[in-house]
């Protein structure tokens, strides 16, 4: 009984998603919302890097939108059916950021025994520490990401935040992906 209580206390809730051939997990605490968008909902903001930064007009809010595959050099983004794609809006130190992913999978609660550190051999080869660990789901390791440290958000300074009006606290957390 104490063991199960302990497990309950220390579970890490994550949302698993696919991008390219890899599987990732982002902590629920870092997610503001998940939804699908159509191309007409997105427009570019002046003075931002064109191919990376766009904003979303839904709910009359703006935030930068980045292609997860693009910033990590993965295979071309897979557009979902009916021309829509899935985005996960996450918190960052500067404000909310939308990340376009190939496919959202499921929510998982991981116990400490299902969490592993990234091997040093691989960690030392990565320019940024955007992977904070591995979560094990049915023998398949998920890469657990720290959204603040993603390439493009942290190192390339691609986002011109002064062009955007939305601050993190203007977005209501909406963890249930109603629009999926």
């Amino acid at each position: 009984m104490p063991g199960s209580l302990r497990d309950k206390e220390y579970k890490v809730d994550i949302l698993a998603f696919k991008a390219g051939k890899a599987c990732f997990g982002v902590e629920l605490k870092q997610i503001l919302r998940v939804h699908r968008y159509a191309p007409e909902e997105v427009f570019k903001v002046r003075n931002n890097v064109a191919e990376v930064i766009t904003t979303l007009t839904r709910d009359k809010v703006e935030f930068p939108l980045i292609g997860f595959n693009e910033i990590l050099g993965l295979a071309d983004q897979k557009r979902e059916t009916e021309g829509r794609a899935t985005i996960i809006v996450v918190k960052s130190d500067d404000g909310p950021i939308g990340i376009i992913v190939d496919e959202v999978e499921e929510f998982y609660s991981l116990s400490p025994r299902e969490l592993y550190p990234l091997p040093q051999r691989i960690r030392r080869l990565l320019p940024l520490t955007y992977i904070w660990g591995l979560g094990l789901i049915s023998d398949r390791p998920l890469l657990l990401i720290e959204t603040n440290n993603l390439p493009g958000i942290r190192d390339k300074n691609l986002i011109n935040w002064t062009q955007l009006s939305t601050k993190a606290d203007q977005l209501e957390p909406n963890l249930i992906p109603k629009r999926l």
Binding site: K21, P119, L128, R140
Partner: protein, 167 residues
């Protein structure tokens, strides 16, 4: 009829003879797991391997060099999975039914080495091992410790520890 004491002495003699025989064999011979990398044949001493297993589910890690295939879970531990071929300058491995993951004995973090096609296990005599030279260029590869001619095949003997230093 043998006395109990005599039986014990005989048993002890048998045990010692078997041990000596095993010792002779390990001194004179070397067991190698053989496989093909590109057009060249290689063998790894079984003594360097902890395990040979089927290819598990590999999660790729973006941003790593092409010889890093990703991470995999095996027997309660996380392995860095490495493709040997790009590490030695060849094209990436194509997975087949005969592809296997070699897990070397190491004091370092566990690692899995993907081998495209595992062939066989052979036992060779130490005395037949020759120094390895890459014939086309006439220079040595540090991770190949020797070579042996088996029939028509020239087999390079890999040192996995030195191979991983290429990273």
């Amino acid at each position: 009829m043998l006395l109990e004491e005599e039986k014990e002495v005989l048993m002890e003699m048998g045990r010692r003879q078997r041990e000596e025989s095993d010792q002779d064999q390990s001194d004179d011979t070397l067991s190698l797991l053989t496989f093909c990398l590109g057009k060249e044949w290689y063998g790894v001493p079984l003594s360097q391997l902890r395990e040979i297993t089927k290819i598990p589910t590999i999660t790729p890690v973006p941003g790593t060099p092409d010889y890093i295939l990703g991470v995999a879970h095996h027997s309660g531990e996380i392995l860095s999975v490495i493709d040997i071929k790009p590490l030695i300058g060849l094209d990436k491995t194509t997975f087949t039914e005969k592809s296997r993951l070699l897990i070397p004995r190491t004091d370092d973090e566990p690692v899995g080495l993907v081998i495209e096609t595992v062939q066989d296990i052979v036992e060779i005599m130490h005395e037949k091992i020759e120094p390895y030279f890459l014939q086309s260029e006439g220079k040595q590869k540090g991770y190949v410790t020797g070579q042996i001619q088996i029939g028509e095949v020239l087999l390079g003997i890999l040192d996995l520890e030195k191979l991983l230093l290429l990273e």
